[in-house]
Every structure is written in C-alpha cells, then in structure tokens.
Symmetry: C2
Subunit: 227 residues, 2 copies
C-alpha cells in the first residue's frame, strides 16, 4: 500500500458475522478491556498526560490493538469522555423530576444519590471540569441534550416558587450552592483533608453526614430571611 494512503481497516462488527459476545464473568471482551483501561487513565490524568502505551499496558494488550479497535487516541477519548459526561449529568439530574415529593424530600434524594455517586466515581467531577474548560463549545449541545428537559422543568418550579414568595433566591445561587456543597468536598478532597487533618474513614463519615446537612442548609438558604 502506498505511503500516506489510508486503508479502511476491518473493524470488528463491520463486516463480521461474529455474534457471540463473551458474557463470562471476569472475561471481558478485548474492546471493553481497552475502553475500561482508557477510562481509568484518561479520567485520572487527562487526555494530554495519558500515553496510548499506558492504556495498552493497563489493558494487557498490544498497542496496535488500540488503533485497530478505536482508530485513534482522540476517538477513544471522545468515546470515554462522552460516556463519563452522560453518567455525570445523569447522576446529577435523575432525581430532579420526581414531582410526587416535597421540595425538601426531593433535595434529600438528590443529594443522597449524588454523594453515593461521587463516592463511587470520585475522579469524575475534576475530569469533567477540565474537559469543559478545555473545550466549552463541544460540551454545549451535550448539556442541552442531557439535562435540557430536567433543567427546564426544575427551573420552572424554582421561578414559580420565587413568585409565590417561598424562595427569595436567584436560581443560579441555588444551583451553585446545591452542586458546590455536594461536589466540592470531593473535588478538593486532598486539600481539605490536609487542612482539616481528617483521615479517610472520617472523610467518608462526614460525607454521610452531609446527606442530611446539605438539604437542611439549602432549605435555610432559600428562606427570604437569607436573601
């Protein structure tokens, strides 16, 4: 083949008639192993600091396989990144909708779910924040698509509550407080732990405490007295 020319390589699933997908426990498909290794490293160290060779090592496969399955580092990153982002936004907005609950109970559900989520994926928020800064426009539509419906519904309620005098707070402040009080301890965890001399076990206990505290605080902050 001529130099510089690019062939269209046989992609798995493209013309393949392979139908069996290994579902044996512990034996993921090669493609999945690469993706998981990539997710781990990209999320931990970001795009630029991650080497494709490290991903290959982590996945226990040959470097060429990475390109065989995903074409390029960038494509692989985009894939992982979008899945991360969807996961993050979903975890954030899943409980916004449920109209059967009072605002306070709903807040408790949101915060609890989100703290559990962050406990499981503590590296996600910083990854997301970096990605957004590095590429704000690419994220735009993603945000709209993913949280558009939830956002507009939740916001209508917020504005309605403000009109009724039940809230005396700009929706921006409310969202910033909700997300900030919930996410920030995880984002700044190493710094906070060092400054306050708090160990790992105690940190987890404190996060459990916050499941109750943050909703109480948020409710207090919404009151007219505080605005």
């Amino acid at each position: 083949m001529e130099r510089g020319k690019r062939k269209t390589p046989a992609r798995p699933g493209a013309s393949a008639k392979r139908t069996k997908v290994s579902t044996t426990a512990g034996t993921e498909s090669t493609e999945e192993r690469i993706k998981e290794a990539a997710r781990k490293l990209f999320t931990q160290k970001g795009f630029a600091a991650t080497r494709t060779r490290d991903i290959a090592n982590e996945a226990g496969i040959n470097l060429a396989l990475l390109n065989y399955y995903f074409r390029s580092k960038q494509k692989l990153f985009d894939l992982v990144m979008m899945e991360n982002f969807r996961k993050f936004l979903h975890g954030m907005t899943i409980n916004f909708q449920d109209k059967s609950l009072t605002m306070e109970n709903r807040l408790e559900k949101i915060v609890t779910a989100y703290i559990d989520f962050l406990t499981e994926f503590p590296d996600l928020p910083l990854f997301i924040l970096n990605e957004i800064r590095g590429n704000p426009s690419r994220i735009a539509d993603k945000v709209k698509k993913e949280i558009g419906p939830a956002r507009s519904q939740f916001f209508k309620e917020l504005k309605q509550s403000k009109k009724e005098g039940k809230i005396a707070l700009d929706p921006f402040h409310f969202v910033a407080n909700l997300v900030g009080l919930t996410v920030f301890p995880f984002v700044a965890r190493p710094l906070l732990q060092r400054v306050t001399e708090v160990g790992d076990e105690q940190f987890n206990e404190l996060m459990q405490e916050r499941k109750k505290l943050v909703p109480i605080w948020l409710k207090m902050m919404m009151m007219p007295a505080g605005g």
Copy 2:
C-alpha cells in the same frame, strides 16, 4: 564537547555583574517574560498539554532561551506552580488572622477578598486542584508551611466556639462550605452559566451578591439549629 556530557551553562546572575534591571514600564526582562508566558499557559492547560515551543512563542523569544534561563520545562513549571500555590493559599488565609473583628465581619472580609482574588485569577483554582491530585505529597509541606499558622489559630477558635455552644458544626464542614461556596462557582463557571442560562455580566453581578450572601449563609449554617 562530548555527547551526553552536560556543561554547566552560564546562568544569568550566576557570575554576571549585571546590576541594572530594566524597570521601564512595559519592558520586562526576558526571564520575566518567559515566566509570565509559562504561567499563563501552564495555568490554562496544565503541564502535559503545554509545549515549550508555545511558551517561547507566547513570550516572543527563541526556544533555546527557555532552557538557558530555566534549565528545563519541569524546573520552569515547578517555579510557576509554587508561586501560584503560594498566591492561592495566601489569598485564602490572609484574613483569617485578624482577631479584632467579630466572626461575622471576618467572614465577610475573607469572602470578599477571595471573590475579588478569584475574579482576577479565575484559572488558578482548577490548576491547583489538578496539581494536588497529580502530586499530593509534594503539596503537603507547602500547605503546612504556608497556612500552618493561620490554620491552627483559626481552628483553635472554631473548636473553642464549638465548646461554648456558639457553633454546632464540625470544622471540616465549615471549611468545606466556606471554600466550596466561594470557589466552586468559579471552578464550574462554564457549566453553571450554561445550565442556568446566565451571561458573563450577570455572572459577575451574582458574584458580587455572593460577597454578602455567603457570610450570611455560613453564619446560618453554624447555628445549632442547622447542625
């Protein structure tokens, strides 16, 4: 000179008798120009994503000069990074000491100073958080040295207040809330603006509002009723 051998290059100031430092407005020294270009790019894009050639371009100098003045990319980064970190911590703890004020007035001074600081250097917090995650141990002593005194003094007061029943809140929660409510809006600015549909001007107005609101909220959260 033999290959691989490394000479000790003439460093400015090492054996130089040059005494005049250009203080003309707008005409920084070459060394300073490089450092500022490096600060800008490193802070914006992180270590791995920043090319030494980009720094050289930004500073308007030849690439070799960067190594002439700072030996290596890593050394230059360490320098900038430490200065950033000192600036960040200083801005954060400068107002913790002043015992002449009431707790509430002190909080107002702290938050006001910090929001002004963040308005001037909005990229700093995310840079710091990334650095800490990437190298937690290297930061440890820096934190101790820089905020050690302020921290211990402030914490003694917090614990004292808790004993006296004036505060019913773990110091960790207090610090997390203080920093979270202040810093997080800047860290998550692009995301928050998009979600809440807030423009740049309005964002700045909201931040000014928070100078008054955050101290009020913090005071509310300290009350026994909220703990």
